[in-house]
């Protein structure tokens, strides 16, 4: 499918690669015992090791190793049972050691891939180059005073997984979908919470352009993009910038840039001389990291069902469409909620109906609360019962919507069957009552009734009137049928 951009001199292809930095979910840091908790007072989650005091030494946190391996397994990647740590040397106030402990030559995870489904017709496989563990840096605040920067080392030393993709993406949409899928996988595994606002997930975006079929162009790196939306915008604006330069007869300088969402464009970072000579060498305070097959297999056995597998199973077991299955499995909690609701009480109710309720009304309510579907206030059991009530004809779909609002509002936690009774929401199914209501409406509107034969669209108006007549409780299907019969419509 063509994602080419039209330039003045013809079509251009965008090539995108992403380096995602994911903060590892762990209680303490990668090489120190200080807490990784967010939002603490400055320099309180800092040990002497994090502050790089003279004589301090790193000791690795086994949980960070496990999280990296679990993630590697989730990316269907090569797990390297022997990897080494290297020092990346540079000077910056939020880098107290004057070097970052990272992995350069021999990372813990090698090649893998992610399946990214944008739409049923547009699916790509994005290759993973590698995943390695490294320390995060501290934070500098530049806006607290006119001439000084304020340095907080709380984040210094927190474990990061750097996940490097191959340059397999060809558009902003593909890149956004990739990050979204990667984030889903990380959240499923529990190795990163993927909260981009908090900074748990950040991306460095590599963009280059070329004429289709031509060799790769020079790429520019846009650093530290912290929302999926901005990733898309940055790619588009950077691609346009590069195309404009080339079409004007210029060449692209390989450089590091920042995306400015306010201006909607990328700008070069303050130039750094000696263009990054990091002088990588193996960290002599750390021996090579080694573990055996048993370690890896133990972690594999403990992995939850991953998104692709769950999605395939939902399609097979519940007859859902690829789209619906994708939406429901985007968050592990939502998928669990869905499955609990469908299978609640050992029954197997209308899986599609449950899906629709979740993706429609419940999602809307959840979004309004800024919560996930599973935390909106409705339990899986309640939802299951709601769907059952519709299935049994006790309530109509319309009534169910009202019921849902009650369960999320005034009647939070109520048992739906009981609530239907107490609130008098039982649907009117009695054909006699419905016929009587229909007769009353037709009798009150003889001209419209006569026109209905010629204008079948008027049925809707009549349905509305009958519903009003019955206080909204008539079984809509029955109303439809009776009206059609009495109006003489097919």
């Amino acid at each position: 499918m063509s994602q080419l951009i039209k330039g003045a001199t013809g079509d251009w292809e965008i090539v995108v690669g992403l380096e995602v930095h994911a903060q590892v979910t762990s209680k303490s840091k990668l090489f120190s015992g200080a807490s990784t908790g967010f939002g603490a007072e400055p320099n309180t989650h800092v040990s002497l090791v994090d502050a790089a005091m003279p004589g301090m030494l790193p000791v690795i946190n086994v949980e960070c190793v496990r999280q990296a391996v679990r993630t590697g397994l989730g990316l269907k990647a090569e797990i390297n049972k022997r990897s080494t740590f290297d020092r990346k040397n540079y000077f910056y106030p939020d880098l107290p050691q004057g070097y970052q402990i990272s992995q350069y030559k021999h990372p813990i995870v090698g090649e893998g891939e992610i399946q990214v489904d944008l739409t049923p017709e547009h699916s790509i496989r994005v290759g993973i180059e590698r995943l390695h563990l490294e320390q995060d840096a501290g934070k500098s605040l530049h806006d607290q005073a006119p001439n000084m920067s304020f340095v907080d080392l709380n984040r210094s030393g927190v474990a990061l997984m750097e996940i490097v993709s191959k340059p397999d993406m060809r558009s902003a949409d593909e890149a956004k979908a990739y990050v979204s899928k990667l984030r889903t996988i990380l959240r499923y595994i529990g190795s990163c919470d993927g909260d981009m606002e908090k900074g748990s997930l950040r991306a460095d975006v590599n963009v280059s352009v070329r004429k289709p079929g031509a060799p790769l162009g020079t790429r520019c790196e846009i650093k530290n993009v912290n929302s999926i939306r901005f990733i898309g915008q940055a790619i588009d604006s950077e691609a346009r910038r590069q195309i404009a330069i080339i079409e004007d007869g210029g060449t692209i300088d390989q450089e590091t840039r920042l995306y400015d969402p306010g201006k909607g464009e990328t700008r070069a970072m303050r130039s750094k001389e000696e263009a990054h000579d990091y002088r990588y060498f193996p960290d002599p305070d750390l021996l090579p990291l080694e573990f055996d097959d048993a370690f890896v297999e133990g972690l594999r056995a403990g992995l939850p069902e991953l998104p692709d597998d769950k999605k395939a199973r939902f399609i097979a077991d519940y007859g859902l469409s690829a789209y619906d299955a994708a939406v429901l499995t985007a968050e592990r909690e939502t998928a669990a909620f869905y499955e609990d609701a469908v299978t609640h009480g050992g029954a197997k109710r209308d899986a599609k109906a449950v899906a629709n309720w979740i993706m429609g009304d419940l999602s809307a309510a959840a979004n309004a609360q800024n919560a996930g579907v599973a935390e909106a206030g409705l339990s899986a059991a309640q939802l299951a019962t709601l769907v059952d009530l519709i299935g049994e004809g006790v309530i109509s779909g319309k009534i169910a919507k009202d019921l849902l609002l009650l369960l999320l509002g005034d009647d939070r936690g109520a048992e739906p069957r009981a609530l239907v009774e107490t609130r008098g929401l039982v649907q009117v199914n009695d054909t006699g009552a419905i016929e009587a209501a229909v007769d009353a409406v037709i009798a009150a509107n003889p001209e419209k009734a006569a026109q209905a034969k010629a204008k079948p669209g008027m049925l809707g108006w009549f349905v509305g009137q009958v519903m009003k007549q019955t206080g909204g409780k008539a079984n809509p299907q029955s109303v439809n049928d009776v009206l059609k019969a009495k109006l003489g419509l097919p």
Binding site: P54, L57, R87, N89, F91, G98, S149, P284
Partner: protein, 506 residues
């Protein structure tokens, strides 16, 4: 009349237990003596009040019969060790005013065992040097008089610029001088390329660098992480065994520290060396070697033979590459380890510009010339385009050096006997001003041991042709310090007694 400060550590330990003296008396004697020896410049900080307070508490414990292994014994601590609340600067200006909020593992072991600290000892800045002349606090004078110098001459130099007086070696120059001049019972030191063994050898004291990983490096200002090791400098081999037993041991805070119990090293003193195979490495016989050193080496072999050991010729083919390889690996690691001295979180800060100015000015002002040289070399050999040719290559050669030793040990050799230094002590100001490499050559016999991670001990063997102390070095198998103590004791007993220098400085 025996001065209290004449007692060795073992003798003092016994004297305290037998109530012949008290820790307070002993500590006072040392504080008095070191105060009179200020001009030697062995100490950069003296903690008299804290020492006497500790001594009092030790005396109380001794009275209650709760004496720990080093109860009440006054020690000197090299300025490289983090000592809580006390001057810790690795004798560098860049750590101006730094008083750590933490205690190094090695020194905390000593305090756990009841010892007390007299003060911090001078050293080459960041442990980079072989003569203690790079210290921010100025050079240390060895208690040994230069050959043919009168006492008056020496005193004059001592209170002047010290030129011509003997260096005690380095980087643990303060430690060696203090031990040799009886300004402490024993001292902690550190060895990256020979910084325990070389000073010990040229001051007539004993120094042991244990196997890499035997002692924890946590809380020691790092110079070259894969080479640094803690160790003691003492008056005799028994004292070294007692000190090492306390200093050594597993520390989970150091990922390179070996997890194995510490043997009772003192029990190895007096153990028979009959049947041990001692290797004499032919490559250590350097061209132009001093006659007295070569003679002492041969003499040492004879002593061990007389004690029942078997002397064999061995080959360590890559020996001559160790020193150049060391001067790539050590500076490289140092260039990274010293990046944290940037004026941001502690120590010296030179303000007045932007952040880059802060870094550059602070580090230019804070580091001495030798440190700057090594940081530049280290940065260069790690830089793009040079990493493979220099650093990687040097690390491969290191593998070969270690393999040489492994081969020899696999042939049944228990220890290797070699000289410790290419010469006796030299004068302050005599070396290194023209060519930095001249100073580096002092480490030629010692660096191989750090490169291979092995234990090495220097024991006094006799005097040079000009009457200055010379040491013999024994190199052992990994974690076999006991064999070194046993052999070292034999050398010590066989060698003519090295005299204690008179206190000409007081």
């Amino acid at each position: 009349m025996t001065d209290l400060t004449d007692l060795t550590l073992a003798e003092a330990r016994a004297a305290l237990r037998d109530k012949q003296t008290s820790s307070v008396e002993l500590t006072r004697a040392y504080l008095d003596r070191l105060d009179k020896a200020k001009a030697l410049n062995a100490y950069v900080a003296v903690t008299a009040d804290a020492a006497l307070e500790s001594a009092k508490q030790s005396d109380a414990r001794l009275a209650r019969g709760e004496a720990r292994p080093l109860e009440g014994l006054p020690l000197g601590i090299k300025d490289l060790y983090a000592t809580k609340g006390v001057h810790t600067q690795a004798c560098s200006h860049i750590l101006d005013g730094f008083k750590p909020e933490y205690e190094s593992t090695v020194t905390s072991h000593l305090w756990r065992d009841g010892a007390l600290m007299l003060g911090k000892l001078n050293m080459d800045e960041f442990a980079m040097g072989s003569s203690n002349e790079t210290s921010y606090y100025g050079p240390v004078a060895s208690p040994w008089l230069p050959p043919n110098w009168s006492v008056d001459q020496a005193r004059a130099a001592l209170h002047g610029d010290k030129q011509g007086l003997l260096t005690p070696g380095g980087s643990s120059g303060g430690s060696a001088s203090a031990v040799a001049a009886h300004l402490c019972l024993a001292a902690t030191a550190s060895d990256t390329g020979g910084s325990i063994r070389q000073p010990a050898a040229i001051t007539g004291t004993v120094g042991i660098k244990p196997t890499y990983g035997r002692c924890s490096r946590w809380g020691m200002v790092a110079f070259a992480s894969s080479l640094d090791q803690a160790g003691p400098i003492t008056r005799d081999v028994r004292d070294a065994a007692i000190m090492l037993k306390s200093m050594a041991g597993y520390d989970p805070k150091d990922s390179t520290c070996y997890d194995a119990p510490v043997p009772d090293y003192e029990a190895a003193i007096g153990r028979s060396v009959k049947g041990m195979k001692i290797g004499i490495p032919r490559e250590y016989r350097l061209e132009g070697m001093r006659g007295d050193i070569e003679a002492l080496w041969g003499q040492g072999a004879q002593w061990l033979k007389a004690a029942g050991a078997e002397i064999v010729d061995v080959s360590l083919p890559h020996t001559r590459h160790a020193l150049p390889a060391y001067y790539i690996v050590a500076p490289a690691e140092a260039s990274s380890n010293l990046a944290r001295y940037d004026g941001v979180r502690y120590g010296l800060r030179e303000s007045g510009g932007d952040i880059i100015d802060l870094y550059q000015k602070t580090r230019a002002k804070g580091f001495g010339a030798e440190v700057r040289r090594r940081l530049m070399i280290g940065t260069y050999v790690l830089s793009a385009g040079y990493y493979d040719a220099y650093y990687v290559r040097a690390q491969k050669i290191r593998t070969l050096i270690k393999r040489d030793f492994e081969t020899v040990f696999a042939e049944g050799v228990d220890a290797i006997l070699a000289p410790a230094t290419p010469s006796p002590a030299f004068g302050i100001g005599e070396k290194g001003s023209g060519d930095p490499v001249e100073m580096y050559l002092n480490d030629v016999f010692t660096v191989t041991v750090n490169m291979a991670g092995l234990p090495g001990i220097a024991v006094p063997g006799g005097l040079s042709s000009n009457g200055l102390p010379l040491g013999l070095q024994l190199i052992g198998r990994p974690f076999d310090e006991e064999t070194l103590f046993a052999l070292g004791r034999v050398v010590e007993q066989s060698a003519p007694r090295t005299p204690t220098p008179d206190a000409w400085w007081a």
